[in-house]
């Protein structure tokens, strides 16, 4: 090592201080709060320790489980569709010469402010005034209450997410494809491999680490997805689109029950961590390097 031990610690210190400030201290404060009765609108009761009561109340709450289920729908279906679409778009553009010229247009949804995305889609989904139903009427089909029924609302919300975040997966895969070596493809062409063989035997295995990273990033994002849902449905109709982030936000900042809200976020941290650990195990280390 070039650096001596002491200088290593000195150089490491700023990062450590920042990390303690923004991540480590809040994390332990959150654990601490989750074990207390802590209601901002009931200061007379103080903030006594109540053991695992906040956790027990959550586990007994059907809405808590439902919000986790909704979240998993988002993670599984949302990311799956985004992956397929992103992959198709990337390979399409990869085959075009000077394809990177149109690249910025693909990225517009991703760089839009989520609140603007939410408001725009909320209006587009409107039954009477919305542009989606306008086109549906034009081609003579029945207009749909996009955000008005429970099953359709879930679908519509995921559709918006797909629109917004497919570009990210596309971008990651596209750059991954650009970096692929050309020799295997030349060899495959000479050997007369079919398109499918090239896809399964060469492209996918070579792209695997990139794909896994893309999935990981998007899945973590989808897990804590809040902004557009809050704008479009705030979890409704009923609880159909109420994800874990929406419900925990409601507990902590509408009901001001900081104790229960903290317990909720601790559970979410644990779930995301389990997911990440499994996922990182799947990615073979030498391929990542």
């Amino acid at each position: 090592m070039l650096l001596k031990k002491r200088s290593f610690y000195i150089l490491f210190l700023p990062a450590l201080v920042v990390l303690i400030g923004v991540a480590i201290f809040p994390f332990f404060a959150c654990i601490n709060n989750s074990l207390r009765f802590y209601d901002l609108t009931n200061p007379a009761k103080g903030t006594p320790y109540i053991g695992g009561t906040n956790y027990r109340l959550l586990f007994e709450d059907g809405r808590f489980w439902h919000s986790l289920l909704v979240t998993f729908y988002f993670v599984i279906f949302g990311v799956a569709v985004q992956l397929v679409l992103g992959y198709l778009m990337a390979s399409l553009l990869n085959g075009v010469e000077k394809g990177s010229l149109v690249l910025p247009f693909f990225l517009i949804p991703m760089v839009m402010t989520p609140v603007v995305v939410g408001l725009t889609w909320r209006l587009m989904y409107d039954h009477i005034l919305g542009i989606l139903n306008y086109f549906i009427r034009l081609i003579g089909m029945t207009p749909q209450p996009w955000l008005g029924t429970e099953s359709l609302a879930l679908f519509s919300i995921i559709l918006t997410d797909v629109w917004e975040w497919t570009p990210l997966i596309f971008l990651i895969l596209y750059s991954g494809m650009k970096a692929l070596p050309t020799e295997p493809y030349e060899a495959a062409t000479i050997d007369g491999a079919s398109i499918w063989q090239v896809l399964y035997r060469i492209t996918l295995p070579l792209l695997k680490p990139v794909i896994l990273v893309a999935i990981l990033l998007r899945a973590i994002d989808a897990f804590k997805w809040f902004d557009t849902i809050y704008i479009m449905t705030s979890g409704g109709p009923g609880v159909a689109t109420e994800s874990a982030s929406i419900y925990s936000y409601m507990i902590a900042f509408n009901f001001f029950n900081i104790g229960k809200g903290s317990a909720f976020s601790i559970i979410m941290i644990i779930l995301v961590n389990i997911f990440c650990m499994i996922f990182i195990k799947i990615i073979p280390e030498k391929e990542v390097a």
Binding site: T41, P143, P145, T149, P237
Partner: protein, 359 residues
Amino acid sequence: MADLAAKTGTYDIFLLDGWQTARYARAGYVAPLDDLLANKKSKYYCEDFAPIFLDALRYEGKLWGLPYYGHVGILMYRKDQFTEKGIDVPKTTDDLMNAAAKLTDKANNKFGMAMRAVKGEDNPIISTSWTWVFGGQWLDKDMKPGVTSPEFIKGATWFTDLLKNYGPPDVSRYSWLEVQNTFVTGNTSIIFDASDFIGRIEDPTLSQIVGKIGYALAPAGPFGPITERYPSHLFTAGMAINADSKNVDASWLFLQWMTSKDIQMRTMMEGGNTGIASLSAIASDEYSKTYPGIPVILEALKLANPNYMPHVPEYPELCEAIGTQISRAVTGEITAEEAMKTAYDEMYKVMDQAGYYKK
């Protein structure tokens, strides 16, 4: 909220939601105004606040804020369509249902009635105005949830049926904005909502139906005439003083000035605030000339009752339980009765955890 809880007193004055008065007053974050009102009244004080708005800001007999904004529920309908179809202004909830049925033409995207049914606070303020005129109440006298009483379920069924059958198909996500949109674009014939909607629906730059709007008091429910129970749809925003404020006298003076009749008139004329709280300002010529619905609003202000929803600190949680379930019932996915059973369980849990049922 964080600032109030930290008791810094940084902000002297804040806006207080009438329905959350109980919550903030119990927490000790708001200063009661009764002493100030009795001893330190200034010339700015508006003597003719609509009494109902003051009542909405009372909790445990004390006044916690001065009304800055408020509204009650009135019926707004399309005069032209009523005449065309020979419909009289509804006098009972049954009349309203029939009128909505006659005005609905789903094939052409014309709907009879729209009200807010989105989950959250919007919906219970309206939907339980109606369950109330059916005789239902949020909490019974033992503070147990009253939402599974036959009267409440009848009211909730009426409300959800009306919207399910004669409202826009995605009405379960309608908030005030969507209700206004569907009305001013001529797609829905009747709305029951806040009296301050007049500002938007009578504005020719924002509304396509100016001159065609009729105003009426909401119809009576099975419980009795509207003099007894009126679907109030009440909301008030009050200006309140932080309990930790170090400048109470100055704050009190500002509060009176900000809610004075003069300033109310100015926010109305220059700022387009149609939810003003002074009776004489509402009745003023300037206001009446611009907005034809004023006599109805003044009448509704006398009839509305601030007790159709409970003034308890647990209001937000209870509100969420009822609102979410009514919204579900409006989608048609479950019946109003099933929805109210779920709401009962959630409300019971909230009240139980808050310690209401300990022996």
